[in-house]
């Protein structure tokens, strides 16, 4: 009886504590749920009256805001293509070909990518991009993202491919397929779920990033949403709250959608391990 009671109280205590921590995490976001729909939104928390989509209309009339989203899309898709394509080919080679030292290669690349990180890496990267004459170009942003994300992507994907029986390709070759046919007919479709995960991960990373485009781009018409959003401040530095709130929500939607997609398709723990 007493043990049952103590278990019961533990459960209640834990539930209350969990709920409190949950509230701590929710609070800074509550404002963000209401403000986009409030045509008179300010920094204060207020239930919109009336509920309105007029903020979104303003955003969609703002060519600069739209171009920011378009640029984000362009850079993310470009980066994702390079990361997805490059990582698929490279990790397939690391898994299936007899390249000497292939096990150590992945670790060394991973080591480099975690060392060359953050703003410390931006100094030489800026100079290299500058030297290539690619400052203020989309391709610079895309390539820098791709280079930085590829080692981790390769690591995840190689693990995935290692777990796939070689008998798929072997049976294809015995059946008469060339290595290229076996790769495209059999291997690629089978490793597609792994590629999807890597692609989603890369997309979310690039889509949300601020520092790299902020440093490598100059002209406002090339800025992705993460940087363009800072133009929604008045001359005095005060934010145009209505516009910012609606824009933030639109800008967040792809990330939320992809998160829901991945947690629906693969369960959310899998996603947990691979961000950052």
């Amino acid at each position: 009886m007493t043990r049952y009671m103590s278990l019961y109280f533990t459960r209640i205590g834990f539930s209350v504590a969990t709920a409190l921590i949950g509230v701590f995490f929710a609070l800074p976001l509550v404002w963000f749920i209401f403000a986009p729909f409030n045509p008179r939104a300010e920094l204060g928390l207020a239930i919109p009256d009336p509920f309105s989509l007029s903020n979104f209309e303003t955003v969609f009339q703002n060519t600069f805001a739209l171009r920011g989203l378009w640029n984000s899309l362009l850079q993310s898709v470009g980066g994702v293509v390079l990361v997805g394509g490059g990582a698929t080919l490279a990790s397939y080679a690391l898994s299936r070909s007899p390249i000497p030292g292939k096990h150590i290669i992945t670790y060394i690349l991973l080591l480099f990518s975690s060392v060359v990180a953050g703003s410390a890496a931006m100094v030489p990267i800026f100079l290299i991009i500058n030297g290539m004459g690619l400052i203020d170009t989309h391709i610079a942003v895309i390539m820098v993202f791709a280079g930085g994300l590829l080692p981790t992507a390769m690591f995840i994907l190689r693990d995935f491919i290692d777990g796939i029986p070689r008998s798929y390709e072997e049976s294809a070759m015995v059946a008469g397929a060339s290595p290229v046919q076996a790769f495209f007919d059999v291997a690629l479709p089978v490793i597609r779920p792994g590629v999807v995960v890597v692609v989603v991960w890369a997309f979310v990373n690039i889509w949300g990033s601020f520092l790299i485009p902020f440093i490598l781009l100059r002209s406002s018409e090339k800025m992705p949403a993460s940087v363009a959003i800072y133009s929604f401040y008045s001359e005095a530095g005060t934010p145009i709250v209505t516009l910012l709130a609606a824009y933030s929500l639109i800008y967040s939607l792809p990330v939320i959608a992809l998160y829901l997609f991945v947690s629906w398709k693969f369960g959310f723990r899998f996603f947990g391990g691979i961000k950052a």
Binding site: S171, M173, A175, A177
Partner: protein, 369 residues
């Protein structure tokens, strides 16, 4: 169809020798089983025929073609994999027809042929399903269908039944036997299940530690196992093997061991030669050649009853001698065998096997030429 031959083939993985100086030939239309425990080199041998491994030395021939270094796709072979390797993104029809697709057959022809083969294998109604939607037994047949969909010189099987449960395995085995009778294909079949090998093969190559220790028709392997390893591996329960002390006196061979009483045997040339260097031999008697006997007779072995397992059509009676060695008899009876205490098992001189100190078979007098 074609024959397959190995010409002193050796395969090393680093320091490990998986297959050593292999020299067998698989005749046209033969169904050869490579039998042995895991790690004996049987799968490596099969994969060298497929081209999925390359020999470290020697040559592999299919028919008149030297295929030693030929890519798998050019070998005109089919293979059924242990895990079936069905492509999860293709339905059964596309899976079965894949070999035709890479050969550039039209979609129409491919599917017609896939249906034909699927009907033979009784999976014709499943062609639209995905591999994940069918049972293990059906997956096994699908992989078989994919191997049979086009004419090959050699058909390779890598433990194709080992992922099935016991009942399905018997059914699939019978089906394979039936198929072989129909098609008369040249087949190489890897298994660690001696019953499978006995049931299917026209010849069995028993392998141990990378070496073929016996290559003979199933009944020959059963009746005259070349080594104690083969004797122990083929047959269920395995042959009883007993170290004995042998000596020649009065022109006859006498065997001595605790609890054992044998009639004197004729001295064969091989036995005489084996006994020049020592006097220990191994006596082997299959469980099915033992019967209940009374004490004091010749050709008997006695010990304490250890286990008495009644299986329905037969009973396994195991006795344990003073030195803890056990002897099992397979008694064919559907009656309960009532036994207690000391048990004596009898055998006939015609059904014993003798092996020398190295475990090699000594021919008995009726076998010697």
């Amino acid at each position: 169809m074609a024959s397959v031959s190995f010409d002193s083939v050796t395969k090393r993985f680093g320091d490990f020798t998986a297959v050593s100086n292999l020299g067998i030939t698989i005749g046209d239309g033969e169904f050869v089983c490579l039998l042995g425990p895991s790690g004996c080199g049987k799968t490596t041998t099969l994969r060298m025929i497929a081209g999925l491994e390359t020999p470290s030395a020697g040559r592999v021939m299919i028919g008149e073609r030297d295929v030693t270094f030929m890519h798998p796709k050019d070998r005109k072979i089919s293979m059924v994999f242990q895990d079936y390797a069905l492509y999860p993104h293709m339905n059964l029809a596309d899976n079965i027809a894949y070999p035709l697709k890479v050969r550039g057959e039209s979609q129409e022809k491919r599917h017609a042929r896939a249906r034909e083969v699927a009907d033979i294998l009784k999976i014709g109604q499943l062609l639209e399903r995905m591999p994940s939607q069918i049972s293990g037994g059906q997956q096994q047949r699908t992989s078989l269908a994919r191997a049979l969909v086009y004419p090959s010189d050699v058909y390779l099987f890598d433990e194709p039944l080992s992922n099935l449960d016991a009942k399905l395995r018997l059914e699939a085995r019978g089906f394979l036997n039936h198929l072989q009778r129909d098609l008369g294909m040249t087949a190489v079949y890897v298994t660690h299940d001696q019953a499978e090998a006995m049931a299917l093969a026209t010849r069995i190559a028993v392998m141990d530690a990378g070496i073929v220790v016996q290559y003979a028709p199933p009944l020959e392997v059963y009746r005259r196992p070349a080594t104690t390893f083969v004797a122990n591996f083929v047959g269920n329960p395995p042959m009883n093997l007993l170290p004995v002390e042998a000596m020649i006196s009065d022109g006859a061979l006498h065997l001595k061991a605790v609890g054992l009483a044998t009639a004197p045997l004729r001295v064969t040339r091989a036995a005489a030669k084996a006994l020049e260097s020592g006097k220990s031999l191994t006596l082997g008697v299959r469980p099915e050649h033992l019967s209940l006997a009374s004490g004091g007779e010749e050709n008997t072995i006695a010990g304490q009853l250890f286990a008495n397992e009644n299986m329905g059509p037969e009973a396994l009676v195991t006795l344990e001698r003073e030195d803890a060695a056990r002897f099992t008899a397979r008694i064919f009876t559907d009656e309960m065998v009532a036994l207690e205490g000391r048990v004596t098992l009898g055998f006939s001189s015609d059904h014993i096997h003798l092996f020398d100190e190295r475990g090699l078979r000594l021919p008995l007098d009726h076998e010697e030429d």
